[in-house]
Subunit: 152 residues, 2 copies
DNA sequence: CTAGGATAGTTCTAATTAGAACTAAATGGC
DNA sequence: GCCATTTAGTTCTAATTAGAACTATCCTAG
């Protein structure tokens, strides 16, 4: 959203959007080479080395909306990578876990992806990372606070 | 993409994703109230106060891919907000500009949206903004550099 | 205990996304 | 001038997105 009006925050918005897109481009280039879509990878990564979890928890952890998550899980189930089970203690809930094939895939692709991402961060030390995290957190909180006021 | 492995950059990735999503949630809540989708708003904002431009330039400025842009422009044209024209000097090109109705809408919604976004940044001074821009730019360049090496 | 309200997951809609395929047009090396 | 290559925009596919509607289930106040 360019166009003048001399608002000093506009360049920051632009930088945030471009940084996020650069991240996605870099991360997703690798994920797609693994034969997965980005959301599919997120689900597998989140389920990896866990006994599984409810759709609700998976949605919260991956930030994928529940409507979309159903489709993502469907397609992963079709690939034989995840399985669904009813939950006895809450019959509205569905328990989702990696299959053996899914866990095997996780064991292969997750370390590879970490190595891929690590390359982008090679030039940053821990102080750099901590500083960037703090700046982003401040920004995120500002949007969250503004959102609370807006919804009022 | 949670899961241990103790990689110090993982929290930064998470923060970037969450900050971007917080931005989108805040920005889009307002845009949707204006009766537009986020990409539609971007196109109108980009075309506002300009004589118009080619699809290619519009795509570059909004970061909307050309396949998607065709659909976005189609729907804006259906709303009577933009018009298309052939370009005499390059017959492959299409020139896109706001209609009078589109420019009127821009004159109404763009300042409103700036005011909306300004609220989120109220607590930041110009030094804050400059610092955040610099941190994000460093991060973006790191992804860009890693991407160049990856493509090689 | 009961009923109203909240919730989990699925289904649905309109829109968007990446990227490929395509056609028409432009470009530039030879 | 010719032709191979590149490019602009459209069309297409599979997947995803936000959010609403829905059904079944759970929770809690009275």
């Amino acid at each position: 959203m360019p166009n003048a009006f001399r608002e000093p925050f506009l360049p920051l918005i632009r930088e945030l959007v471009r940084t996020y897109q650069a991240f996605e481009a870099y991360s997703n280039a690798h994920v797609r080479e693994l034969g997965l879509t980005p959301p599919q990878f997120d689900v597998i990564a989140t389920l990896g080395n866990t006994p599984g979890m409810s759709c609700k928890e998976l949605s919260e952890r991956t930030l994928i909306t529940k409507g979309t998550l159903t489709g993502v899980i469907d397609r992963l189930a079709d690939k034989g990578l995840v399985g669904r089970q009813a939950l006895a203690e809450d019959r509205r809930s569905v328990f989702v876990a990696l299959t053996d094939a899914g866990q095997t895939l996780f064991d292969t692709v997750f370390p590879a992806h970490l190595a891929h991402m690590r390359q982008a961060f090679a030039a940053f030390d821990n102080d750099d990372l901590a500083r960037q995290i703090a700046e982003l957190a401040a920004l995120r909180r500002a949007f969250g606070t503004a959102m609370e006021h807006y919804k009022r």
